[in-house]
Symmetry: C2
Subunit: 445 residues, 2 copies
């Protein structure tokens, strides 16, 4: 079993202190490619480059392919132009497709020059699809035979080399259109002359090259097969999507969702340079600042009230925060539901009703609790009533916004995971402050 990643990182990071820098090369050489990629991502820049220098040139391409975009680019930037010939020695179309966004155009051309004609054609074909279409990411090595092929043809095909996670032969007609699929294990031990169509699967899905990544990946994950054929509009087989790629694409989908909630993307480097990282994050801080000033602007409308009843200033963050928390729960549920296709225009009304009821129930309970505490804290029964009503209003508004905001963003093809929470908390901040300070102005002055 591979050495566990955290232990590997600890060993490499502490090597210089222990005067064992030289052993690192051997240690890294013994790890598999994915672990080397994860290790490099986990090292501070200076050490990352040192370890990178110790990796043989022939191995570097695989390692780069396995890394996330941002940390990968730190290594590409540090690699001398002369070294690329050796790195691109055996580059293929799939590797270049994975890397091309990280590489300067000149290097993409260099890699294309190093490829044979067939691989170059693969690269051109896949580049016609955008990187959110499955056609961009397919494997171009499906096991394909004509419809009239027999067991002996299958055996001949397999004797060469069976690609990873290819467990079926796709049978195509003369136009190259997908027709049937035959599991390799069904062919085993049968006489040579048996026609393959007699062994074909009853139901077998195909993926359209223009399909969206997550849905296509889920289809493969659920199919029970190791790969499904990817076809064009004419049903011609372009390649296959295997379950390992599908699983990685799903991981990336979820990572994107997690990172998006904090305004970052999934390629973010743990140890990116300080200016780059600061720049990446500044945008998000700036957007949030706008919304914070907006909320402050609403508070500013009640300056006179705040001056007279300072307890309102003390308690107002509670009103805003309870709305924000309640809203983010609804929002999180909605984001998942929309991403998985489980929330649609037909069931969203029922969902809104349910979330409003949940908000109403929790709103009443917590509004009473908070109202009582405020009453005892400031010995002012009317203050208790005011905060009680404001909390209730804000939690209900939060439930409504938690359903409506992501639904509207989704309609406009904006990822609710990215911008949903900014908009939601703006709503809950403003409703919270206005309700609380407004009611305060009416009943406490």
């Amino acid at each position: 079993m591979a050495e566990l990643l955290p232990e590997l990182i600890d060993e490499v990071v502490s090597a210089p202190e222990r005067g064992e820098q030289d052993n690192i090369v051997a240690l890294v050489a013994a790890q598999d490619t994915d672990d080397v990629a994860l290790l490099l991502e986990s090292l501070p820049l200076e050490q990352r480059l040192k370890v990178w220098d110790g990796i043989p040139k022939r191995r570097r391409l695989d390692v780069l392919v396995a890394m996330r975009g941002d940390p990968r680019e730190t290594l590409i930037a540090a690699t001398d132009i002369d070294e690329w010939e050796a790195i691109f020695f055996e580059v293929d179309a799939e590797q270049l497709l994975e890397l091309s966004d990280s590489l300067p155009n000149a290097l993409v051309d260099k890699a294309l020059d190093a490829m044979d004609k067939q691989q170059r054609q693969y690269f051109t074909d896949a580049s016609q699809f955008s990187d959110d279409q499955i056609g961009h990411w397919l494997s171009q090595d499906p096991l394909v035979l004509p419809l009239n092929a027999k067991v002996r043809d299958a055996l001949r095909l397999i004797r060469r080399d069976v690609p990873t996670h290819a467990d079926t032969i796709f049978l195509v007609n003369r136009a190259g259109q997908f027709s049937e699929a035959v599991k390799l294990t069904k062919v085993m031990g049968l006489p040579d002359h048996v026609p393959l169509v007699d062994l074909s699967e009853e139901t077998f899905d195909t993926i359209n090259a223009e399909d969206e990544l997550t849905l296509a990946s889920l289809m493969v994950q659920r199919s029970g097969f190791a790969s499904l054929p990817v076809v064009d509009e004419q049903n011609k087989v372009l390649g296959r999507l295997d379950i390992s790629t599908a699983s990685e694409l799903l991981n990336e989908f979820y990572e994107r969702q997690v990172m998006a909630t904090a305004g970052m993307d999934e390629d973010e480097d743990l140890f990116s340079s300080v200016p780059k990282s600061a720049k990446n994050r500044a945008v998000w801080l700036g957007i949030n600042l706008l919304t914070a000033f907006l909320a402050s602007g609403f508070i500013g409308m009640f300056e006179a009230t705040l001056q007279q009843v300072v307890a309102l200033a003390v308690l107002m963050p509670i009103v805003a925060s309870m709305g924000g928390i309640a809203g983010s729960q609804t929002l999180t549920l909605m984001i998942r539901g929309l991403a998985l296709g489980q929330v649609t225009s037909s069931n969203v009304k029922a969902l809104l009703k349910k979330e409003l009821s949940v908000g109403g129930l929790n709103g009443v309970v917590w509004a009473l609790v908070i109202g009582c505490i405020a009453y005892f804290w400031f010995a002012d029964p009317m203050l208790g009533v005011v905060i009680c009503v404001a909390i209730l209003l804000n939690i209900i508004a939060a439930a409504a916004a938690g359903v409506v905001v992501p639904m509207v963003l989704h309609k406009f093809n904006i990822d609710p995971a990215l911008s949903g929470s900014v908009i939601l908390t703006t709503v809950t901040d403003i409703v919270g402050f206005v309700a609380f300070l407004g009611l305060g102005t009416l009943f406490l002055l």
Copy 2:
């Protein structure tokens, strides 16, 4: 290709309006199990039960197994005790393991009674492992042959039935300990008498039954094989983990992370009953209320100041919110790094340094911007200076807390995805309010 889920949902939801309730049974019957499960999860309770009633009893077990915990339990609760005999007609150990947490004990016993002895033994064996160990989730149908087996034995084994995603035969010694693995495709077309050991893979990982789910799943995803053997401490083969299960476990891991940030779990039902949902979420609201009151307590210490300089009340949410946003970016990066094993005690110091530098840089920039705006808004240069310094302090504190809080939680085996953001925003709220109001008290009175 299967009908797309959102369209299916729309059709089922709108059927009663269109007077087509009867067609739903046929429509649902035509969907595959996973889509039926997703459909049921997406329906409001009343309609969910109606569709459930139309599903043949023999199919219900598979559908329940494919569903999330909470929505599944609504269906279990609505199913009459007499119906279970038909539902459990062909229940196996893996299905019962998936369901057992959702089922009342009496029903688990009923299911065990319906199983044959071997399946019952499987269930008992797997139940010895907790549900965060891979031994609980393994498939107990590996292709196993003795070390001295030949190609003919492999063919005989395969001719029966090859389980889904089993692409290798595990060769074991007399004690049942794992020794070698042979890819099925390597056996094809070879003479009967060839010993299987001659065809075995050079390197092949095994998973320990006590391994944690995510790491074990990643091992399978990266292995290039469709399943890896799961062994006990004596290296005896207990079963296998296949790549489809691994991929589903990874999906669940990420879903848990996403849902945890809002204090929910991955089994949360889109349409759970209002009291249940309100109860689930109340805990999270309560915890956040405590922290909100804590922050208010700190604001309360500055009542006298707030009364004299009401601008502080207007601007204080900005100071808190900028800290919260900056901190949540660092926290999100840390949570991912810790979950993937990329952040360890050896590189966390370098990470802290980087995050403090990023925070310092962004802090200076945004502190100046906010300081200027505050100065012009309230025509008070000193107020500009005060908010400028408070913002800088809070963004730097946020960076420190964003690294330290999840690290400490991780050390104590508490999931930072769940409690990290509550603690972090408590820190940034308090630091923000105290710094801003404290400096205001010193320099503005």
